[in-house]
C-alpha cells in the first residue's frame, strides 16, 4: 500500500525501483486554537523510496509545512504513523535533514562554521569537519566565501549555506520546505539546477515542499498534490521525464503537459480556497 489517499487515481506507470525508506501512514494533524480545533492535515499517506525525489505541492495554508514538521520530528502531536526505514518517528531522526522555509543561517558564524555546525555537534575533530564543510560549500558553489558572515551574503547565497549545512550532516532523507520561496525567479531556477545536480550526484532521497509547479515538475520523480483546507492528498503524479535533468527541460512539450495537468488540479483547489475566504469574509461582515 504505497502513496496517496483513496481519492487519488493510481498512475499507470510501474512503480520506481528502490525500497520504501520513508512512510507516512494516515497522518492527521489538528491545531488547538481559541476558536476550536483547526484541522491542518487530514488523512495524508505517502511513501518515499530510496533515491527518489518526491515533491508535495499545494496551495498556501494547505498544511505542507505541517507535514514537513511532522516528518522532521519537530511536531509530535498528531495521529497516524510516520516511519523511517520501519522506525517510528518520535522526534528529530538522525536520518532526516531539514532545510527550512525561513532564513535559518546562524548570523554569528562564518559560512564554513555554519556548514560545519552539525559535524561540530557530533564531536568531529576540527580539521576534519572543516574539510568536510569545505566539500559541501564547494558543492553548492560558495567556494571563496568560507570566511564571510551570512550578513555579508545575498539571500540566495544564504539559502545555499543552509542547504550545504544540512547536506553536511549527510542525511539519508533530505527534507526541504519551500527553500527557494523567498528568491527571485532567476536565482530560483539556478538554485533548482544546483539542487538537481546535487541530488543526482548524491543519489539523495529528497522530499521537497513547494507551491511552485515548474520547480516540482522539473525536479521530481513523483508529485503529491494536496487539497486546500483541510489538507488531504488529492493525487499523486508520476513525472516520467528522462534524467539527468536541467532547467532546460522546462521548454519541452512533455513538461508542459505535466504542468498543465497539475495546474488544473491546483486551480480547483486554489479557487476553492478563494471562495472559502470570501464566504468567511462575507459571514464576518454580515455578523
Amino acid at each position: 500500500m504505497s502513496a496517496s489517499s483513496a481519492t487519488a487515481p493510481r498512475s499507470a506507470s510501474p512503480p520506481q525501483p528502490g525500497e520504501a525508506i520513508l512512510d507516512v501512514d494516515h497522518l492527521h494533524v489538528a491545531f488547538q486554537t481559541p476558536d476550536g480545533p483547526v484541522i491542518a492535515v487530514e488523512d495524508v499517506s505517502l511513501t518515499v523510496r530510496k533515491g527518489e525525489f518526491l515533491s508535495i505541492i499545494g496551495p498556501s495554508g494547505c498544511g505542507k509545512s505541517t507535514v514537513f514538521n511532522v516528518v522532521g520530528g519537530l511536531l509530535t502531536e498528531h495521529e497516524g504513523r510516520v516511519s523511517v526505514a520501519g522506525e517510528t518517528i518520535v522526534g528529530p531522526h538522525p536520518s532526516i535533514g531539514m532545510v527550512f522555509q525561513e532564513e535559518s543561517t546562524f548570523p554569528w558564524r562564518t559560512v564554513i562554521d555554519n556548514v560545519a555546525f552539525p559535524l561540530e555537534l557530533t564531536g568531529m575533530p576540527k580539521a576534519q569537519r572543516l574539510e568536510r564543510a569545505r566539500h559541501f560549500i564547494e558543492m553548492v558553489g560558495l567556494q571563496g566565501f568560507e570566511r564571510r558572515y551570512p550578513g555579508e551574503l545575498s539571500g540566495g547565497m544564504r539559502q545555499r549555506v543552509s542547504l550545504a549545512r544540512t547536506l553536511a550532516s549527510e542525511p539519508k532523507i533530505l527534507l526541504m520546505d519551500e527553500p527557494f520561496a523567498a528568491l527571485d525567479e532567476q536565482t530560483r531556477l539556478l538554485l533548482g539546477d544546483k539542487v538537481l545536480q546535487i541530488q543526482q550526484e548524491l543519489q539523495q532521497t529528497t522530499l521537497l515542499i513547494t507551491h511552485n509547479i515548474t520547480e516540482a515538475v522539473q525536479m521530481s520523480d513523483r508529485i503529491l498534490v494536496m487539497t486546500y483546507r483541510p489538507g488531504k492528498a488529492k493525487r499523486i503524479v508520476e513525472i516520467d521525464l528522462p534524467r539527468p535533468r536541467t532547467s532546460e527541460i522546462v521548454g519541452s512539450e512533455a513538461f508542459g503537459r505535466y504542468v498543465a495537468q497539475i495546474w488544473a488540479d491546483l486551480r480547483e483547489e486554489a479557487s476553492r480556497g478563494l471562495t472559502d475566504d470570501e464566504t468567511s469574509r462575507n459571514r464576518g461582515s454580515a455578523s
Binding site: F106, P107, W108, L121
Partner: protein
C-alpha cells in the same frame, strides 16, 4: 548656541584636535583654575579644598605606594568575582525565565520589583552572613549585577529567531549544545548589554559596601582618608577611581562594539 553648532559641525572630523576637543580641554582647564582660585581664596577651609599641587602630590604618593595597589587589587578582585558570580546566576535565571512561560509568569515580576531597589539596604544582612571582609562586598556586587543581567537575558531569549532553535533541534543538539551553541550566541547583544549594566551597578554596590563597613579595598581607604581628614589623599583616590571606572566602561563598550561587527 554657538557651542552646539560647532559640536555637530566638527563631530565627523577625527584624529586631529578639533573644536570639540579644544572645548573639552578648555572646560577641564577652567574647572581646574576655578578650583585653584577657590582653594587660594580662603572662602572655604583650606583643607576641604586643597590646592592642585597638594592633590597632585597625593596622587603621586598614592600611585607609588604598594599599599594602594594591594587595596586596589582587593576591590578589583571583589568586582570581578561579583560580576562572574552575578553574571552566571543572572544568565541561568534569565535562561530559565526566558525559556519557560510558567516560571516567567510566576517569578519575573519579583525581579522587576527588586531590580531597582537600592541593594545597600540588604548590607546589614550580608555582613551577618558573609562577615566584614571581602565576602560581604562580593555579595553586594552579586546582588547588584544579578538583576540587570537576568532581566536582559530573559528579554533577549524571547526575541531569538525561533527557526534557529528548530535548526538546532533538527540536528539533534543536546540541551547543553542548544544552550551554548544557539541560545547564548543568539543572545550575545542582550547579554553584553546586561553585563555592561551589571558591571556599572556591581561597581557601585561593591564600593558603597566598602565605604560602609570594611577593612580592605578602595572604598575603605577613601573613608579612612576622610576620617583622618586627609583631603588631598581622598581627592587623589577619587580621581584615580574615576579614571579607572571610565577605563573599565570603555573596555566593556569595546566588547559590545566587537559583537556588532558580526551582526546581520
Amino acid at each position: 548656541m554657538a557651542a552646539t553648532g560647532s559640536l555637530t559641525a566638527s563631530a565627523p572630523v577625527r584624529g586631529r584636535p578639533n573644536r570639540v576637543t579644544l572645548l573639552r580641554i578648555g572646560i577641564i582647564v577652567a574647572v581646574l583654575a576655578g578650583w585653584e582660585l577657590l582653594s587660594r581664596s580662603g572662602w572655604l577651609y583650606r583643607d576641604v579644598v586643597p590646592s592642585l599641587f597638594a592633590i597632585g602630590k597625593a596622587i603621586v604618593a598614592l600611585l607609588s605606594s604598594g599599599e594602594y595597589y594591594f587595596h586596589l587589587g582587593v576591590t578589583a578582585g571583589e568586582i570581578l568575582a561579583a560580576l562572574a558570580i552575578g553574571g552566571v546566576l543572572g544568565l541561568i535565571v534569565g535562561l530559565l525565565l526566558g525559556g519557560n512561560r510558567f516560571l516567567a509568569a510566576a517569578f519575573e515580576s519579583y525581579l522587576y520589583y527588586l531590580g531597582p531597589t537600592p541593594k545597600i539596604i540588604f548590607f546589614p544582612i550580608l555582613i551577618m552572613w558573609f562577615g566584614v571582609g571581602p565576602g560581604s562586598k562580593i555579595a553586594m556586587g552579586v546582588l547588584s549585577a544579578f538583576f540587570p543581567i537576568a532581566l536582559s537575558v530573559a528579554a533577549g531569549m524571547r526575541e531569538i529567531d525561533r527557526v534557529l532553535i528548530r535548526v538546532g533541534k533538527s540536528f539533534r543538539a543536546t540541551t547543553w549544545q542548544m544552550a551554548t551553541k544557539i541560545y547564548v550566541p543568539a543572545m550575545r547583544h542582550p547579554i553584553i548589554n546586561g553585563v555592561r549594566l551589571g558591571l556599572g551597578v556591581g561597581l557601585i554596590g561593591t564600593l558603597l559596601a566598602e565605604t560602609k563597613l570594611s577593612n580592605k579595598g578602595i572604598g575603605y581607604l577613601i573613608i579612612q582618608a576622610y576620617t583622618l581628614f586627609d583631603m588631598p589623599r581622598m581627592y587623589a583616590m577619587l580621581i584615580v577611581l574615576f579614571v579607572l571606572a571610565i577605563g573599565a566602561n570603555a573596555l566593556v563598550g569595546r566588547l559590545g562594539g566587537l559583537s556588532n561587527i558580526k551582526r546581520r
